[in-house]
Symmetry: C2
Subunit: 218 residues, 2 copies
DNA sequence: CTCGCAATTATGCAAGTGTATAATAATTTC
DNA sequence: GAAATTATTATACACTTGCATAATTGCGAG
């Protein structure tokens, strides 16, 4: 008797770093909210998916609310990081095109991503702390887009004032968001690349500059 | 003692038509989902807000799930009805302008409306019946918009093929949806009329026709 | 090597959940 | 106007929820 278990040795659990456990819990939470909505993200489910028992959540977060806030912040940071990476190098025009294109393809366009957004919305509308995170991320995106637009226009020898720039950024941001939303909500309604193409053409039309994603040639 | 109650006579309840009760329950459900998310829309809360006891829900709907489906369908029908009414009479150009304008002002742009949309999304993604309702409404909007766009272009002596028309409709729909979303999610971030103005300019740019909402003069 | 401490599990609880069933009372029917 | 009907209420139940507290157990310090 007492033979060691098939894979594990007979330890009942292993200690992990606080960082590792926190992240595991946060990722499990995001997964569950995307899949089943906040309603389905119960402490027991979260704990199970993170391979711990439910008591541990209270050891790392003083309440479920705090865990959800942490998860939201984590998610939003991931989003902005992905964005910053997407537009890469090159002329302002090509960076803008890359940004639009990347925003309208997987993994950004994805049913889970939209589900996650929707799952958080209620909390965002009611909890001031989450409101701040939301506003910060939205502003980050819009300002980023605005800078790209202004730079692209300048490259074409055109210049606009601050108010016009903001309006263009709001409009372009809206096209992207709208397409993102529809692509995530109706995944089978659009062909591959269709959203990106429509997005590029729409942004082109709005800012008045022809805009083509660079086709990289070997 | 035993004086009759202030307003009511001493009846313990009054019977109402099935139609009235069903609608009351549905409206209570929509209110609650908008306010607190699906999570907050419990049978007891719904019943309380509809001024009945919880048992009655099961008398009109075989399950809570069915009530929620009915509520969703009701909501979507309301949306399409409002839309059809918004664009009114006149030239195709002015009808298109009116449609865009109405879609980007209250009561369409409204935090509760966005909250409602978000609250339903999970169910929509998982329940085939709700998926069908969603798809039907989305198609309705897009086709409606597409027809307006084609007519407006024709009025200007331009014509496009079916594929181009669909792309323009998708793009315009996306701008509207995106602006709608942002206006509902960040109510204080936009001045009155700003969303409508940006929407009109963006749609103008996308379809390549100057488009101004008619200023009605007395 | 063993001891102490913190990470982790185990157990319990009160409140809230959807649903089922029985009891009541308002309206209709004859 | 009494009886049948059924809309409505009242009560109960099994289950889930978040949270609290106690009991373990892995692991590093001495």
């Amino acid at each position: 008797m007492d033979e060691p278990d098939v894979q594990d040795d007979s330890r009942k659990f292993t200690r992990e770093s606080a960082e590792y456990r926190r992240e595991a819990l946060i990722l499990a939470t995001l997964d569950l909210i995307a899949e089943m909505g906040v309603r389905g993200a119960t402490v027991r489910e979260i704990a199970a998916r993170a391979n711990v028992t439910q008591g541990l959540i209270r050891h790392y977060f003083s309440s479920k609310e705090e865990l959800i806030q942490a998860a939201y912040e984590h998610h939003m940071n991931t989003l902005t990081d992905q964005t910053a990476a997407s537009s890469g190098e090159g002329t302002a025009l090509s960076r803008l095109a890359n940004f639009v294109d990347a925003s309208l393809r997987p993994p950004i366009v994805d049913p889970s991503a939209v589900a996650l957004w929707a799952g958080f919305l209620n909390k965002v509308q009611h909890d001031p702390k989450m409101q701040r995170i939301h506003q910060r991320t939205y502003n980050y995106f819009r300002d980023y887009l605005e800078a790209l637009i202004v730079a692209a226009l300048q490259e074409c020898g055109r210049s606009i004032n601050a108010s016009e720039a903001m309006q263009l950024a709001i409009a372009c941001n809206a096209v992207i968001d709208g397409l993102w939303l529809e692509g995530g909500a109706l995944p089978d309604a659009f062909a591959e690349g269709q959203l990106a193409q429509i997005g590029l053409e729409s942004v082109s039309a709005i800012i008045g500059i022809p805009l083509n994603k660079e086709v990289e040639q070997p």
